[in-house]
Subunit: 124 residues, 2 copies
Amino acid sequence: MLRASVRADLPVLRTVDGHHAEVPFLLTADMFGGLPIEVAGGDISDKVGKPVAELHRHEVAELYLLVSPSPGGARIEVTVDGATIEASSPSVVHVPAGALHRFVTLEAEPGSCCFGILIAGPLH
Amino acid sequence: MLRASVRADLPVLRTVDGHHAEVPFLLTADMFGGLPIEVAGGDISDKVGKPVAELHRHEVAELYLLVSPSPGGARIEVTVDGATIEASSPSVVHVPAGALHRFVTLEAEPGSCCFGILIAGPLH
């Protein structure tokens, strides 16, 4: 019989280069026998106009997954290698591996979340 | 210069075996040049006592990522191969590949989400 397992000791707080505070991770690569992704972030309703990081880069691609209770309830501005784009919930923004990036929350109704999904692997 | 790209045509609705309605996907394996995961689901605040699927199984492992604005604001009951466990937000439940499973929402404050992350790859 296969069994479920649970991690309830979340978030895992980690220091990450370029970030102003410890970053809350919900999934890390060492969980459940090894994962191809890591997931950080969460609620952004208190982060309007307050970037959580300076411009920074890493060797893996990142996806920003932006969700909110109502469509359009959250908007973020993402800067990647000097170009800026805006995204409205629900949406996903792909930041290529190695790109200098950060996001700023423009609007976020209660319950809005932005998750950063870090993707391992050669394609990204 | 590396560029960001955005998918705003979300969710992608798909028919999935065992599910009562089309499943809303936020990430699919074909996006952004190929991904090692797929992500489905979202808000569960209207799903207390209403399972979105019958017991079903698939060849890849699944992680249920449960979040809510307040710690403990959402609870789900996950059944895996006949055993039932309960999880409270924030938490992640790992459902092994091939296991017969489903979840039911027990409690969910506004803004609570449960995402199903499907993991490709040999470890899972």
